[in-house]
Every structure is written in C-alpha cells, then in structure tokens.
C-alpha cells in the first residue's frame, strides 16, 4: 500500500519536473491534468482501501538526514486524509482538463500543479518530523508558486508576499512544536516521539504552537489574513485545491500533534481551540457576507468552515481529557465529517466560481447576474453547493452541522466551569454561523446567477465545457448522496475516530434500521436524511400533480410587475452591497466599525448626493499593520549597515563571534 502511494507521489514529482523542463518550449505537449486525474484516482483508491482495512504500515527510506532517514507511515487517520487529498486532487484535475485549456501562461501552472498534489500527499504519509516539515514547506512553496502564476494581475504579488510571510511563520511554529516533541535526544520519528512524549512537561506549549502552526495554514482568526488574498489569486482549480484540500492537511497536522503525538490531553487545551474555532466561524462569515469578489467570498467561507472543524476538535479534546470516550468520538466524527463534506462542497463552489470567471471574465458580483439562463448546468451545481454549505437538509452539510450540535448538547456533563460557559457560547456562535452561511450564499447565488445581467459579459456568457460541468454535477450528486446516506461515510470514519479520540467510535450506522443516523441512542436523537429526502420529494411531487390536475395550467409571460413601476435598466436591481446592507448595519457596525455617510447637497445646489461606506478590517489594522510598521522601521534603521566598509564589516563579524562565545560559555 505505502510503496504504491509513494510511487504515485514520485510519478507526480517527475511529471512536475518534466513539465518544468519543457515549459519554455512546449508547455502543453504532456497531458498533465489527465495524468494527474488518473494518479489521483489510483491513490485515492489505495487510501480508501487502507482506511477500510485500518492497519498501520511503516517504511523507512534512506533519504534526508543521514542518521534518521525518511520515515513514512499510513494509519487510519493518515488514510482518511490521504483519501480526501487525492479525491479532491482527482476532481480538480478532471475539472482542469477543461478549465486549463484557456490558461494564458500554462508554463507557470503546469509544472507546479502535480508537485503541489505530491506535496500534500507527502505531508500526510510522513512518519517523522523532518519529512513532515520538508513536505509541509514544499507544499507551501508549490502553492505559493501557483498563487503567483498570474503575478502581473493586480494584488496578486501582494497576496503572494503575505502568503509567504504567514506560511513561514506557521512553519516556524510547527518547527518549534516538533522540536519540543523530539526533545534533547532528537526522537524525530513519530513512533518514538509518541512513546517518549506521553508525559511531556511542556505539552501545553506544544499544543499552542501546533494550533498556531496548523491554524495559520487553516486560516484561524487572527491568522487568516493571507487566506482570502492567496486562495482567490490562484487559478480556480488550484483555489479549489487550496481551500477544499490544503486546509484539511492543516487539520490533519493539528490532529496528528494534539490527539496523537503529545499523549493524553489536559482539559484546558480545549479552551484555546474551542475559542479560536468559534470566533473564526462567526468572524469568517461576517467577512464573507460583505465580499463583492465571488472567489474571495468563498475563501472567507473556508475560514468559517475551518472554524467549525476546529470547534469540533476542541470539543473532542475536552471530552477526551475528561474521559468521556463516547462524546469524544461524537465530536471527532462531527469534525472529520465536516472536513470531508467541506472538501466536496467547497471544491464544487470554487469550480463554479471558476466557470463563471471562465465564461464572463468577471469575479465581481456587481458585474454578474442572470447566469442561470445562460449557464444552466453550472448554476444548478452551484445552487446545490450553496445549499449544502448553508447546512440545509437533506444535503451533506447539514449532517455534520447536526452532529456538531449533538456534541454540544452532551457537554453539560463536563465538570469544568470554564467549559460550562464556553461550550454553550460556542454552540450559540455555531448557530449564528449556520444562519449567516445561508444569508451569505443566498446573496452569492442570488446576485451572480439570478436577476438580470449587470454587464455585457454576463449577458453573453456561454455554458462551459463538459469536463467542467461534469465535475461540478458529480460533486453536487456527492453532496446529495452524503446527505441522504451519511451512515456509510460515518462508518468509514470509524477507524480514524477510534485512533484519535481515545479508543471509541460511534456505533455502526449502516446497520441501523432504515439507515437512520443514531449517534448515541435512539431516544436521544436521530436523523434520517433518506426519509426526509423521500418525504420532500414525495410531497413536492404530489403537490405538483395536484396542481396539474386541479389548477389552471395557463402561463402568461409578461413584463415584471414590480409594484407597477418596472424599470428595464439592470442597475435598478438590488446589488451585492445593497443586499448586504442590513447585515452590515446589524453586525458590521461593531465588528468592522462600518459607517455609512450620506452627503446631501444643500437646497438649491446642483451637485449629486453621495453615499459612502467605510468598513475597517480591525484585525489587519490593530495586529498586522503595527507589526509591519515596526519591521519596516527597524529595517530602515538597519539599512546603513549595508553600506559599511570592509574593515567595519570584519570588526562586526569579530564582535558577533566574541558575543556568541561569551553567551555560550555563560550558558554552560
């Protein structure tokens, strides 16, 4: 199993190198995307087999640091995430067969794409800290290169720069976490680390570092700033991979450290995780609701979903620390299921945004509209994705949200007072996030796909090709399937949940009567997506039949009524920003200090009235801007050091050497 997975990654790397070498001459001679799709499907099949088998496989290759070697390892947890990565990669590759055809600079995308896929897989099958960190950095760099593919577009260079800084910061945190875990003896491979670190004195610090390191990749507030810049800047299939899949690699890294390597958790570990998750969920969506760029909106929604996942992980930590294995299994299942679901619908939505961009050249909601008539398949798939991400039954997003609520509802049994306040508060945040998600996606779909076209590009859009629509429709079907038959997915998650959450997993769901979802016991809670779906379909059908039989069938097409004053100009429609105005006033006036000012001309003046809105990004202003300012200031001060004479440099080097030696001698 493991050699085959490694082989697949090696082939991907070779593909990347070959594409890189030939990119100057003939970038398209090698069918990169079809090959990536085949390899992805193969590796996904392997990972699924490993997930269902549930064994552990390890391997050591004589690469990397000589006395350590490169360890690789597949266990149920790694198998699950390997499956997510490769299924997501496969879907993105099939989509890209169509989408990539019109790429203006294929030489900047094709070499890095397979390497990025390989990097993500390698992080997951890494079995020692060294391999893990090298693969992590490789994945970050490759995705950075893809973000910079269109580096001449406005804002992309800045996005790449912020991404690079934040990725380095996150890697530094992970490096320190692994350094602490490895200890002075340098136990770099995970198996020894696990056996040594059972009672690590600095375990809490390791957890915080892991939260910072993985959280910066996952986009937890306030480490999220790079994500909404970088994810939309990449080509859309890569955006889908970064949002849908790479963030899951970050989730994997956190689970690997917090639930596996550091040993038994303390209860207070759940406090920062739960808080970060809950705050991220709400703040992410409040940002998303106000965005006018479709892809940036999706990126902020990724921030929200990762917040939900981390909330589930925080709950699982609390339960695990308090020796409530059943509840821990429930919370862990909710988090992992949400990770799987998010990978499907966020990929779908980014594909949809990509197709819109492909067909109209626009990402700005204010220039779209009416696409449901021009692009029926894309809009249908996007609608399904929007409903799924808004946690509407009977689709898959609702199932994980429901499990998350069930996990919150078993938590009054937690003994700690802090958690007794924190858990209901985060439950309320989760409820708020669920409602805001629906608002956000009604706005996104309604403005982009419904109404009348707001620009000539939207008016003349044509449906994209079959590879793109096919991928999207398949993913939409997966969203429905995951919603009506969630039991099978949850059963497949049993292995990883048992591995991470402390020895238990949820009872087998597929054996429940009528395939009902029963997380704890039937009189406590149950949900059956299949029955709900059949019920809805049935009642819609009989009402439609009844209407056909008894009602008038006549339909007259007429101009819109609009209270008697229809106006043919598309600018009279509601815009994206006017749609968001009530939400901006309700939530944004506090969180973003949103202010609206109206300048009315005085009586008799002929000037126009002006309406302006200011929205401030407080995280950026209060946290990042001061740091950036300080760094710039220090750099300015140190700038003269670049213009010294050779004698001055030599004396500086000598002084530094003396100081270091003194420090070392004092230290001993």
């Amino acid at each position: 199993m493991l050699p085959a997975a490694l082989g697949a990654d090696a082939v991907l790397l070779v593909l990347g190198v070959v594409a890189g070498v030939t990119s100057r001459i003939r970038p398209r001679w090698l069918p990169i995307y079809p090959l990536c799709a085949i390899i992805g499907a193969f590796a996904a099949a392997l990972a699924l087999a490993a997930l269902l088998n549930g064994g552990v496989e390890t391997m050591v290759l004589p690469l990397g640091v000589p006395w350590i070697g490169a360890h690789f390892r597949i266990d149920p947890l790694a198998a699950l995430f390997l499956a997510i990565v490769n299924l997501g990669g496969c879907a993105a590759s099939v989509y890209a067969i169509g989408y990539g055809r019109h790429e203006t600079s294929p030489g900047r995308v094709l070499p890095f794409y397979p390497a990025f896929l390989a990097g993500m897989s390698l992080v997951i099958i890494a079995g020692d800290a060294f391999t893990f960190l090298v693969s992590w950095e490789f994945m970050s760099l490759m995705s950075w290169a893809l973000v910079m593919a269109h580096h001449k577009d406005r804002g992309n260079a800045f996005a790449g720069y912020v991404y690079l800084v934040m990725a380095s910061f996150g890697s530094l945190a992970l490096l320190l976490a692994f350094g602490l875990l490895a200890g002075p003896q340098g136990h770099y491979d995970f198996d020894t680390m696990r056996s040594v670190a059972a009672q690590h004195p600095l375990a809490g610090l390791i957890l915080i570092l892991a939260l910072i390191g993985a959280g910066s990749k996952a986009g937890l507030v306030p480490l999220h700033v790079w994500l909404p810049l970088a994810h939309p800047a990449a080509p859309s299939h890569v955006s889908a991979l970064m949002s849908g899949v790479m963030t899951k690699v970050a989730v994997y890294a956190f689970i690997r450290i917090a639930f596996d390597l550091v040993g038994a958790p303390q209860w207070w570990w759940s406090v920062p995780v739960l808080t970060a998750g809950a705050v991220t969920a709400v703040i992410g969506l409040l940002y998303a609701v106000l965005q006018e760029d479709l892809k940036r909106l999706l990126a902020y929604s990724t921030v929200e979903n990762l917040g939900v996942i981390f909330m589930g992980l925080g709950l699982a930590l609390a339960f695990k620390a308090n020796h409530m294995p059943q509840a821990a299994a429930l919370a862990m299942t909710a988090a992992l299921l949400h990770a799987v679901n998010h990978a499907t619908f966020k990929s779908l939505l980014f594909f949809g945004a990509g197709s819109v961009l492909f067909a109209t050249g626009e990402r700005n909601l204010e220039a779209l509209g009416g696409l449901i008539r021009r692009m029926p398949a894309t809009s249908f798939a996007f609608l399904a994705g929007a409903a799924a991400i808004s946690a509407l039954p009977p689709l898959n997003g609702f199932v994980s949200e429901w499990l998350m609520f069930q996990a919150v509802l078993v938590s009054p049994d937690l003994p700690q007072w802090v958690l007794k306040f924190l858990v209901p508060a985060s439950g309320a945040m989760l409820a708020l996030a669920a409602a805001l998600a629906a608002a956000c996606f009604v706005r996104a779909f309604g403005i982009a796909f419904l109404g009348r076209p707001r620009s000539p590009a939207a008016e003349t859009a044509v449906e994209v090709d079959r590879f793109q629509t096919g991928t999207m429709l398949v993913l939409a079907f997966v969203c429905l399937l995951g919603g009506i038959l969630p039991g099978f997915v949850i059963d497949a998650l049993g292995g990883p949940v048992q591995f991470a959450a402390g020895g238990q997993h949820l009872p087998m769901q597929a054996s429940q009567p009528w395939l009902t979802l029963v997380p704890i016991s039937a009189d406590r809670s149950s949900y059956n997506g299949l029955i709900v779906f059949v019920f809805i379909a049935f009642s819609a059908l009989i009402s439609a039949v009844a209407i056909r039989t008894f009602a008038s069938r006549a339909v007259r097409r007429a101009p819109a009524w609009d209270c008697g004053y229809p106006d043919g100009r598309p600018v009279t429609q509601y815009t994206a920003s006017s749609f968001a105005q009530p939400l901006r006033r309700v939530f944004g006036s506090v969180v973003f200090q949103a202010r609206e000012t109206v300048e009315m001309p005085g009586p008799g003046e002929l000037g126009p009235a002006r309406f302006s809105v200011t929205v401030r990004d407080l995280v950026w202003e209060r946290l990042y801007a001061p740091v950036a300012w300080a760094v710039g200031r220090v750099a300015d001060r140190l700038n003269p050091l670049q213009f010294l004479t050779i004698r001055q440099y030599l004396s500086l080097v000598f002084a530094a050497l003396v100081v270091l030696l003194v420090v070392v001698s004092l230290w001993r």
Binding site: I372, A434, I536, A540, A560, D562
Partner: protein
C-alpha cells in the same frame, strides 16, 4: 396492525395540518377585524382565495428562470414535511424519529432559502429588498430558535420532539426559569418567522415596510397559492410547536386508544384557536416597528435563549 394504525395517524396529521392551515389564517384575520369593529371576511375566505388563485392563469415575468417556477413547490414541500413532523394531537408519530427538532428548524431554513432566492430571480428592486431583509431577520431568528431548542433538549436529554413533549406532559419538570425564558424567546421568534406584526405586516403592500410580501410580489396564480398555503402551514407549525412543547395538555400518548386520540384532537383544535385569538389580539395592540429595530427585538430573543441554555449548563453540576 399497529404499523397500519400508526401510518394512518401520521397521514391524518399531514392532511389535518394542511386542511387547518387556511382556517387558522382566516381566524386570525377575523379576530383582528372584529377587534377593529369591522365585520371582516368569513372564516373560510382563505380557502376561497386559494381556490381562486389556482384557477387563475399564472403570470410569470419574462425573464423568470426555472427556479422561479420550481421554488413554490420546494417551499411548500419543505414546510409541509416540517409541519408533519411536529406532534399535534398525538406524540410519538410514525416518522418522528426521522427528523428531530434541529432538523425541523433546518427544514424551515431550506424553505426560506428557496423563498429568498425566488425573490431575487426576476431582478426587481422589491424582490431584492424583501430577500435582503428576510435573511437579516433569519440570521438572528434561526440562532434564537436553536437556543430555544438547546434549552428544551438539555432538559429532556433528547432532541426528539416527541420525547421532549412527553417529558413535559408526563413527568415533573416543575416551573423553571429556563423554560419561561425559552417560551418568550420562542414566541418572539415565531412572530418574526411568520412575518407578523411587529416585525412585518402580512396585510401591507406599502413598499418600504414589507418583507415577506416583497419577496412574493412577482408571484401569481397557482404559484402564489402554493406560497400562501406554505405561509399558513408555517403558522400552524409554530403554534403546534408552542402547544406541543409548553402546553402539551391532552396530547395522546403513543399507543393510546381511539378515545385518547379524539381528546387529543379536541385539545389541539382548542390550542390552535386559542393561539390564533391571542395572535390576533397581540397584533391589534402593537404597532409595526422599523426594520432596523427588528435586530434588537430578535437580539432579545437570542439572548433569552442563550441565557436559558447557559442556566441549564451551569445548573447541571449542582
């Protein structure tokens, strides 16, 4: 045999809520009219309206898409399924295990999702304003509703509606502060969700005040009929929910004899009538509030629900 009987009860309940929905709307209108010293339309006027609507041809805007024509069915189906899963005259319905109360809230969310999208489909300013305000209201009403659900589920150790209502009717819960707060929050949410005064006015077509009516402005004929009956069903659902959770008097227990079912039916009708009369009286006695006062109104509901939940969390360990 028991299965047949159970499915009969379940089917009866589905038909019952559908049949009663327009009557309840008529009752509320009648009460309001009588309190204003008007004669008011007869109780069965909503049935006549629906009948007239489905007989008329549907006028559809020229640029309306398939979503516009499909949405009424989706809205109606989701609301009907949600209404069918709320215990009315008997608890322990055949399919009550297939969706708990969180799923019922989410089903209503699905209906609203399609309604708000339908409002934006034609691309008129009124549709947009209605949808935009509706999502603002929902973004506060839905979490408030979920907090109420949390409160009740924590008391009953279950999110199944049947279990919760059985617990409240058959065992000693006693008077609890949390329950009172949850009841107030639920009533506030119900007013907002059903577009009643003071949040919205179901009788207005004044451009700047309407929310629900603005979304359905472009609808006519059979499509409008589906939406109207969906809205009536939602009112029945919320009254049944309040009845089942806070006033489960006379509700037939699972497996009770036909006599108990008859008693339950009578009690249910009485509860609905009481709810309708109280709603009418409340609507007469209060003025509609400005749109941007609504967040404060619903924020109060959210806070009440949250406090009720928090109290239960904190009191569990004592």
């Amino acid at each position: 045999m028991a299965l047949i009987f159970d499915s009969l009860v379940q089917g009866l309940q589905m038909i019952l809520v559908l049949a009663l929905a327009p009557l309840l709307t008529g009752l509320v209108r009648k009460v309001k009219a009588r309190l204003l010293r008007r004669q008011g339309p007869s109780l069965i006027q909503p049935y006549r309206d629906l009948l007239r609507l489905i007989r008329k041809e549907a006028v559809v805007a020229e640029n309306a898409s398939w979503l516009f024509r499909a949405a009424p069915y989706a809205i109606f189906a989701a609301t009907w399924v949600a209404a069918a899963l709320v215990p009315t005259f008997a608890s322990g319905l055949l399919f009550s295990w297939s969706a708990d109360v969180i799923a019922i809230v989410a089903l209503l969310g699905s209906a609203r999702f399609f309604l708000t999208l339908a409002g934006m489909d034609v691309g008129t300013s009124f549709g947009g304003i209605g949808s935009s305000r509706e999502v603002m209201i929902a973004s506060l009403a839905e979490p408030a509703m979920l907090m109420v659900v949390f409160t009740l589920s924590l008391l009953a150790h279950s999110t199944q509606l049947s279990t919760i209502s059985q617990l409240i009717s058959f065992s000693e819960v006693g008077l609890r502060v949390s329950l009172a707060m949850a009841l107030i929050a639920l009533i506030l949410v119900a007013l907002a969700e059903n577009a009643r005064i003071p949040v919205d006015n179901p009788a207005t077509h004044l451009e700047l005040t309407m929310v629900h009516e603005a979304m359905v402005l472009e609808y006519s004929g059979r499509h409008l009929a589906m939406i109207e009956i969906g809205a009536s069903l939602k009112l029945v659902l919320y009254l049944s929910l309040i009845g089942a959770l806070f006033l489960p008097l006379g509700m037939a227990a699972p497996g009770a004899g036909p006599a108990a079912y008859l008693v339950g039916l009578g009690a249910y009708l009485a509860k609905l009538a009481l709810g309708g009369v109280l709603l009418g009286m409340f609507e007469i006695s209060i003025a509609k509030m400005r749109v941007f006062r609504v967040p404060e109104f619903l924020g109060a509901a959210l806070m009440l629900g949250f406090l009720a939940t928090l109290l239960l969390f904190v009191s569990r360990g004592l």
